[in-house]
Amino acid sequence: MNQPAIVRLENVTKVYGNKTIGLDHVSTNIHKGEFVFLVGASGAGKSTFLKLLFREEKPTSGKIYVGNKNISLLKTKELNILRKNIGVVFQDFRLLEDRTAYENIAYAMEVLGYAKKDIMDRVPKILKKVGMQHRQEHYPQQLSGGEQQRIAIGRAIINSPKILLADEPSGNVDPSTAVEIMDIFKEINSVGTTIIMATHDRFIVDQLAKRVIELKKGQITRDQEGGRYTYES
């Protein structure tokens, strides 16, 4: 890899208040434009890994660098800049129920203070990108799981983040929809966005054959380029 590391973890440990270990002395580098799968059993530390990256949580010890900045030391303003550069997609979508598909995506621009004109210009493009332009006036409860996830992805990439984090994005959709959603991620990745995705979806990991980081009890037990869901030598 000639690209500089966009994410760097140095000996990172996260212990939660109730002594649960999230991560246990983890060090790794992720480069710009990479597509990385985080795999492992529930509670292995995948979600903790992602939460630490956009500082939903702070590490107990160790250092996390995103784009050369130790994110534990960020001031509020810098933290906002970090989060503008990181998109997040969740298993449960986290859409606002009282807003349409269009408004859910537009909201992410509104709250950053964008002008109406910019919003009206950009949102339709994103809706098209995630294949939802025909459903833009629908409310989340009128949409299928797959459709809601497309909207959530649209919201995550509306502000052109450099890194996209996804926590089980296909966990609540059927297998064929999961494949469609992965196509969207592949496309986002193809234009240089770094993607870090925690997943249980063996089929997808095996099919995409990207870098796989396997976690077990908070430690990295495997880090394999073009890897499969389970280790095969």
């Binding site: 906002n80 503008k84 997040v88 986290r94 606002l96 992410a108 709250v111 950053l112 919201r155 509306i158």
Partner: protein, 294 residues
């Protein structure tokens, strides 16, 4: 922060309030009641102060002579009074004059006269003015020692008594006002807490996309300030009407010497509105600090 942002905050604040109508209404009402009591205290204290000042300004002293004294005996008292240092003018009011004045005050002869018959319980009275106000106390002291003088009335005594009453009310008022402010702050902070809870999902999304703190907090701060302002506005309207009514009445009561003063009430209402906004800002700030983890 620019105008567009403030407009956005206010719009969101109105939406927040519309979403929590009952809570918003009761908050406005409580703030209004609290500030109305605060305003009433202020009006009372200011006007009592003015009344006392009016009274203290009066340079008169009334000396009452023993009712059994004859006119000649009263004349002797008069001569002694004239000799007191600081006496400027001395006006004699006979028993008959005093009685006539009394009957007039009561509104007509019939009633009082019938009860009294030929008795006249009124004393001979001397109205004394001092060469200046500071002499009055000395004149009063000396006059009391003259034989035949049974009472000296002097406006400053009344003023002093009133002052001590007003001071007591002032102390009690400050305590009550403090408690009322705390209640108002607490209520607004609770309302904002509920609004934060109702919008927790939106707040989460805002955090994820890197919205600035001021953008997240602005609408809630605006909500609190708006609630405080509306409460203050309601109390101001009530206070203004009550003040106008009361002063129109007081104007006809001669000795009160109080009247409607637009400058005074404007100042008090401006103070109330500012307090309302401040109470709202403090109340929402407390909730934002406590419940909004960024």
């Amino acid at each position: 922060m620019n105008l567009k942002q403030i407009g956005y905050f206010l719009k969101q604040a109105l939406k927040n309030m519309a979403r929590n109508k009952v809570m918003s209404f009761s908050t406005i009402l409580t703030v209004a009641i609290s500030l109305l009591i605060v305003g009433s205290f202020v009006v009372f204290i200011v006007n009592a102060g003015m009344f006392i000042e009016n009274q203290s300004d009066k340079t008169q002293l009334s000396v009452f002579v023993d009712t059994t004294y004859t006119q000649e005996q009263a004349k002797a008292v008069e001569n002694k009074l004239k000799e007191i240092d600081g006496v400027d003018t001395l006006q004699y009011k006979s028993k008959d004059e005093a009685l006539k004045e009394m009957i007039d005050k009561q509104g007509g002869e019939s009633g009082l006269q019938a009860i009294l018959g030929n008795e006249n319980p009124m004393p001979h009275t001397f109205i004394i003015t001092g060469t200046d106000n500071t002499k009055l106390e000395g004149i009063s002291t000396v006059a009391k020692t003259i034989e035949g003088v049974y009472k000296v009335d002097y406006a400053k005594d009344l003023a002093d008594r009133l002052t001590s009453i007003v001071n007591a009310v002032r102390v009690g008022g400050v305590v009550a006002v403090g408690i009322l402010f705390l209640i108002a702050v607490f209520l607004i902070s609770t309302t904002i807490k509920l609004a934060l809870y109702a919008k927790r999902k939106e707040i989460q999304v805002m955090k994820y996309v890197g919205s600035s703190n001021s953008f997240i907090q602005g609408p809630f701060l605006a909500s609190g300030m708006l609630l405080g302002f509306l409460g203050a506005f309601v109390s101001s309207v009530i206070l203004f009407v009550a003040y106008k009514f009361l002063m129109d009445w007081a104007q006809n009561v001669e000795f009160l010497n109080l009247s409607f003063q637009s400058g005074q009430i404007t100042l008090i209402i401006a103070g109330l509105l500012l307090s309302g906004i401040l109470v709202g800002a403090v109340g929402s700030y407390i909730s934002l600090r406590k419940y909004l983890e960024v």
